[in-house]
């Protein structure tokens, strides 16, 4: 039954759901069809989602249960484990919530199936950054694994990525952001304008970078280029010589005592900054918010070379079919319909469908988080705590200003193994 609906095109979402519901209803032997949206509640559907943790939020699972009746079982892992699990245990999940550079590794192994954009209700609301790679028509496409380069495949069973948008989307973007350096404005004592400033001798022993090779190397690349030491063909896909040059530079800086520490986890970065051990370092935006919530000045400093950006999305496991596949589409459509987007925007991330999220945010929230305007009232975190006082302006400004200045995306290099080996040398040096 579901198969027939799948083949028809141009069918309305409601009738699709009803047919899906009928299929489920028959399968459960109840035969009675009560209308949408309680269908999933009567015939419980559980979707197993695993991913890198950023968007594995309980609030989303709870709301999904309430709105759709779909139970979400979420498992969080780190990115390397996520990549491995996606490939080696394809039956252990229904929905993969992974970053785009992981998708570049994982998708070609055939464990995921593409999504038909005709079934994505809000496809045309998705930010063009993920479709064409350009936020605005005159944007420059950033280096690294830009999401649109791995966002589509030519056909439903294709394993290679399409050069341009097609009917088959590999992942629906969910959450993304632009990363830069965090600083202690009260302790740096001067304006910070470029990535090169982290290497300023004035900050000797007071700088830190993160010790996650695939991300740390990108920050290092931004620094190297800003200092004029090198010009990469593609920061996201360095040659061996470029890797050598970058790591040798890092080793020298380390031996000169430029770095105070290398952090691996979110809370380490917060503590380094809050205790004043470090005044300038690579940082993630929620960590900046965490430092500020302790009443300590911390700024997510925009830099002239631009941001290092990352993004994740939801992909479907290859084994999904029938009612579960319908439920997965329903879940993804719900994800893009606004509530989740607003929730993520309020945490300082960005949602994939900005227009729908706007309907779930107050004018002031939208102004602060997305338009870069001064907050009129206090800005609350999703848990009800005050995040920013009235009058505050978001570091880096509006969505277009921040995401429009992405210099490179997190990526996976062809020389990945070599890079990791050299990175370990840097840490041991």
């Amino acid at each position: 039954m579901t198969n027939t609906t799948d083949k028809k095109t141009g069918i309305s979402r409601r009738s699709l759901l009803k047919t899906g519901a009928a299929a489920v209803g028959l399968a459960a032997g109840s035969g009675a069809i009560t209308g949408f949206p309680t269908i999933w509640a009567q015939n419980p559907i559980t979707l197993r989602q695993f991913g890198t943790g950023v968007s594995n939020l309980n609030a989303i699972a709870d709301k999904c249960k309430a709105d759709l009746g779909i139970t979400l079982e979420m498992t969080a892992t780190d990115s390397d484990a996520a990549a491995q699990r996606a490939v080696t245990q394809p039956d252990s999940y229904d929905i993969a919530d992974i970053e785009y550079w992981i998708a570049k590794k994982v998708y070609p192994s055939g464990v995921m199936q593409p999504m038909d954009v005709k079934k994505l209700k809000y496809y045309d609301k998705i930010v063009p950054l993920f479709i064409t790679g350009k936020l605005t028509p005159d944007s420059v496409i950033a280096q690294g694994t830009a999401p649109h380069t791995v966002g589509f495949v030519e056909a439903q069973d294709a394993k290679t990525f399409a050069k341009q948008p097609t009917q088959w989307m590999t992942m629906v973007p969910t959450i993304y952001n632009a990363d830069t350096l965090g600083i202690r404005p009260d302790l740096v004592g001067r304006d910070i304008t470029t990535w090169a400033d982290i290497m300023d001798p004035a900050f000797k022993g007071k700088a830190a970078i993160l010790n996650i090779p695939s991300i740390g190397i990108m920050d290092a690349a931004m620094i190297m280029e800003a200092m004029g030491n090198i010009k990469y063909a593609d920061k996201g896909n360095m040659t061996k010589e470029e890797i050598d040059k970058t790591i040798d530079f890092l080793i020298k800086a380390k031996q000169d005592g430029q770095f105070r520490a290398f952090w691996k986890s979110f809370d380490e970065s917060v503590n380094l900054m809050a205790s004043g051990e470090v005044v300038i370092q690579s940082m993630w935006s929620p960590a900046v918010a965490a430092v500020r919530s302790k009443g300590i000045a911390c700024k997510y400093q925009p830099l002239k070379e631009g941001y290092r950006s990352w993004g994740g999305g939801l992909g479907l496991a290859a084994h999904l079919k029938g009612a579960e596949l319908d439920a997965a589409y329903e879940y993804i459509n719900w994800y893009l319909s606004g509530w989740v987007g607003a929730y993520l925007n309020r945490q300082g991330y960005y949602s994939a469908a900005m227009d729908t999220a706007k309907q779930f945010m107050s004018e002031d929230e939208w102004g602060y988080w997305v338009d870069g305007k001064p907050a009129k009232g206090d800005i609350m975190a999703p848990d009800g705590k005050i995040m920013e006082k009235a009058g505050a302006v978001r570091d880096g400004g509006s969505f277009v200003e921040r995401m429009g200045k992405v210099a490179c995306w997190n990526s996976v290099m062809d020389e990945d193994r070599y890079m990791v080996r050299r990175w370990n040398e840097f840490i041991a040096a």
Binding site: D80, K254, A261, N271, S275, A429
Partner: protein, 301 residues
């Protein structure tokens, strides 16, 4: 046992069956421990050794017989430097814990008169161990930091003009935390052997005209050697296998063998980590064998 042995010999026919079952008894008695050690110690180590020869990529491991994992491990200067660094930590921490541990145990064993008080004080030594390892380690951070307790106190009383940087995120911090964490492992076995020393031996030495130092050097220390050896095995193996203390206290700036393995595992390079584990295991076993050669624990216990 003897009674049980005698009886079947006396009785003619059922004797064989009885003797057979008696021969089996010791094996049965050893079986539970053998099974547990076999299943949870030998088997995993065997698997690690097997996996260390496998091939891998980001997603999976492929059964194979490659020596590249060992070639990569032993052929890289990073490994050698990391091993040297770990051995250095082990050496320094061993010397410090042995020195501190011996004197604490000596004080407890010879200067506290009542057994009850000895036990009370020994328990006091173990009190910090009621909290987790990680917490005891992390609590050093606010003490040693740039704006931490030590630095702010020293600056305030005017002893130093500006905070000392090397207190935290340095090798000093790593050694300090390790000594703090592992000294008790030295105190316990040494205290145990010191308590077994027959006091009349010391009296005899004094009667023979030995000075305090001579008693210590010629009587107490030789008799305490088995305890020191056991403590040494504890401390050395703990330090060689440590990754969290090195990572946290050096701020990620220093490397240890286990930390190198952890990095490899978090990148899912299990065969490489397994090869490293085998190398470390061999090294630690050699060290333990060396210690046992110098001090015969069984003979002197």
């Amino acid at each position: 046992m003897t009674v049980a042995l005698d009886q079947p010999v006396a009785a003619a026919k059922p004797a064989r069956r009885g003797r057979f079952s008696i021969n089996v008894v010791p094996y049965l008695q050893a079986a539970p421990l053998a099974l547990i050690l076999g299943a949870f110690l030998l088997l995993p180590i065997l698997m690690i050794a097997v996996v260390s020869f496998w091939d891998y990529d980001f997603a999976a491991m492929y059964p194979d017989f490659l020596t590249t994992n060992y070639a990569d491990t032993l052929g890289s200067w990073v490994t050698w430097k990391t091993y040297l660094n770990t051995l250095k930590y082990a050496g320094i921490v061993w010397a410090l814990t042995l020195f501190i541990g011996f004197w604490v145990a000596y004080f407890l064993a010879f200067h506290i008169r009542t057994t009850a008080m000895q036990m009370v004080l020994f328990l006091v030594c173990t009190v910090p161990f009621l909290t987790s390892n990680i917490i005891r380690m992390i609590s050093w951070i606010p003490v040693l930091g740039r704006n931490g307790l030590v630095n702010s106190t020293l600056v305030e009383i005017g002893l130093i003009p500006k905070p000392i940087e090397w207190l935290l995120y340095s090798e000093f911090a790593v050694v300090l935390a390790m000594v703090h964490l592992y000294t008790l492992f030295m105190v316990t076995p040494i205290f145990n052997t010191l308590m077994r020393i027959d006091k009349s031996l010391i009296e005899a030495a004094r009667d023979a005209g030995a000075s305090g130092w001579q008693v210590l050097w010629n009587v107490i220390i030789p008799l305490a050697k088995p305890g020191m050896a056991i403590g040494t095995i504890f401390v050395v193996t703990l330090v060689m296998a440590d990754f969290s203390t090195v990572q946290v206290m050096s701020g990620g700036q220093s490397a240890s063998v286990a930390l190198m393995m952890k990095n490899q595992m978090s990148l899912l390079q299990y065969p490489a980590a397994a090869a490293n584990a085998v190398v470390l295991l061999v090294l630690v076993l050699l060290m333990v064998a060396g210690i046992l050669r110098i001090v015969d624990i069984r003979k002197e216990l």
